[in-house]
Symmetry: none
Subunit: 246 residues, 2 copies
Amino acid sequence: MADIPIDSGKDIMSTGKRVLVVDDDAKTVELVQLYLKRDGYKVLIAYDGNEALHLAREAKPDLVVLDLMLPGVDGLEVCRQLREESDVPIIMLTARTTEADRLKGLDLGADDYVTKPFSPRELAARVRAVLRRIPEEVLMRGPEEVYYGKLAVNFRKHEATLAGTVLNLTPIEFKLLGILSREPDRVFSRAQLIEMAVGYDFDGFDRTVDVHIHNVRRKLDSVPGHSVQIKTVYGTGYKLALGVSN
Amino acid sequence: MADIPIDSGKDIMSTGKRVLVVDDDAKTVELVQLYLKRDGYKVLIAYDGNEALHLAREAKPDLVVLDLMLPGVDGLEVCRQLREESDVPIIMLTARTTEADRLKGLDLGADDYVTKPFSPRELAARVRAVLRRIPEEVLMRGPEEVYYGKLAVNFRKHEATLAGTVLNLTPIEFKLLGILSREPDRVFSRAQLIEMAVGYDFDGFDRTVDVHIHNVRRKLDSVPGHSVQIKTVYGTGYKLALGVSN
DNA sequence: TCCGTCTTAATAATTTCTTAATAATTAGGT
DNA sequence: ACCTAATTATTAAGAAATTATTAAGACGGA
């Protein structure tokens, strides 16, 4: 097999997100743990419902893999409790596959299902899928580096330079400039920019973009003798353009 | 215009929009269906390309979720066909496809894509996101740029040029000129123009258009050596026409 | 804890929209 | 041609909407 995992996941690795695995079967847990660790996640383990709830409150994991069949507090109950306390994504492990069961899980806020018996590979892929809120493809597709005026944006190095000077951009700033650079002159709405740079599930406020754009502009302007600028299109959004040299 | 919530996703529920899901894998379809239904959409299902095209023509869905790997007619082909017939937004489901495949899909007019395996919750969120920005992109659909005489209106750049000179138009002015340019020589009433350029719920009075038209004319006239003009049709409205060069 | 980043909120600055008043033009009847 | 009523053009000012800027708090990671 192509031994390159479906989505390279390497970006996620570095983030070291925490995944809480809840299952009373030690063997299952071990197997899952192995695969998740290989993907670079930190794995927390709970063998029953109470432990799960406790750990979830303590460690605030980024995702919970939850078996429905648990000793003590039932899996569905755990799910409901978790939902009351946070928005942490939940992947349910279940042997039962009736429509009713699925619906129940959905109503309780599960993000995805994996039915037992499952392949740990599949589970790992689903974990990546749930945690992958911003498709890295958005930034990684297309050429490795794009140029516009004296601006160069290198996506492999994750680095932008203007007239040879390295711009010290934060992650969001880099994504914004990357998006704009890919299609200079095209206008992007704030909603589009937010979605592509922050994530489709961002539930904040459009105007956050303004601040990021402002900061990118500030950094662009700190480099003298170029003409790349982010233009405001009143009532619509922003676009990258060449203006008067500064 | 305050207290109407700006649409935090799930408000769309009440609209009951129709989503066509095209995939040959019954399990995938079922899962997607569950999540979309929970969000209040009416879900139509097709298991192959022909069925999909048929249903799309029949039911005119508001959005299509389209798997690329289909038996019979290929997903890309379905995408292309759909695009020829309508502007319905398309979200593509791609398994591990090559870069080339994805770009192809986007070139064919897909609005977004999700790679398998995906979290159904993510898909639901994307559906909301795409449907949310339809109104703002309504002008973007159709041709990216239209020409009339020496006038060019580019919707992607949100920029109009006359004889190569950029016209500095306000949002409403741009929309007005865009509407007129799409169908030169056709007369539009003030009510039509107001509705299309300002909004369905404008509660002001018709004559406001006159001022905007006046301003567009002024900006057109500031460019010498062309012949594009907005003509007044007494008692009826305005239209775009070619007149004597100025 | 310290540091960098993100988000939000408040306020300032800017641009655009609408209205209203007046002038100019048109159409139609005489 | 002339007169009149209706329609449109022009202008400027105040209102409204959008964007810029700044700073403070939240949050997570070294």
